[in-house]
Symmetry: C2
Subunit: 133 residues, 2 copies
């Protein structure tokens, strides 16, 4: 199949597929006489693998590492995949914690402010951000 067919099947744009190729994540099995990229069903699996990896929060660099495991399983061990997964869980937990801190600060600010058409002269959101800590 050509690139647009792969794009449709994996739900990734053709542009992005070429970009992934440039990064070495997804090389077409062969080229047609007219130099078009020709993909196989295996490439569809790989493309979806990349997509799911991204949906789990892995960067493209990390996805590249996971692909290396996938593409040569006998040369890798479970610990590699599990360690990456565990680290990512920790990383995501930290991000969630940070966002929750932001959220609660914002909620404190939100309830203080009347939100009306009054001049911002005494707006508690602004004055709280101004406050010298």
């Amino acid at each position: 199949m050509k690139i647009s067919e792969l794009a449709k099947r994996a739900d990734i744009s053709a542009h992005t597929i070429r970009y992934y190729e440039k990064l070495g994540l997804l090389k077409p099995t062969q080229r047609s006489e007219s130099n078009y990229r020709i993909y196989t069903n295996d490439d569809v699996v790989t493309a979806k693998f990349i997509k799911r990896s991204k949906e789990c929060g892995f960067s493209l660099a990390e996805t590249s590492t996971l692909l290396a495991i996938k593409n040569d399983k006998s040369q890798h061990v479970c610990a590699e995949a599990k360690n990456m997964t565990s680290s990512k869980i920790v990383e995501i937990s930290e991000q969630i914690a940070k966002l929750k801190r932001m959220q609660s600060t914002l909620q404190e600010l939100e309830v203080l402010c009347c939100g009306g058409q009054e001049s911002a002269e005494f707006c508690s959101i602004i004055s709280n951000l101004e406050k010298v800590v």
Copy 2:
């Protein structure tokens, strides 16, 4: 005070302060004879305002809008600040929801995998990412 003093007091690098100036967020009140940036205590307040705004999750562009309110309060109303705050809370809630989805997917993958020195041939993390959906 000069830039390094402001940097220390606001806990922002001198580089970043110059960058903020380029974006129009924080202009020094005046320049010394030798063209050094001279800051006042008000500039320290503004620098800290920017820092706190960022800690609440506002981008520099949004921070710029908040600064415009702060710097000319009589021309603005509470609703502006409150709307920005409410939108940001929604935005952050969505980010948290997304991260939680990632987290639970990762946790499902993590418990399935033995994590040992076994070959990745049957690694359930890899095979789950490979699975055609």
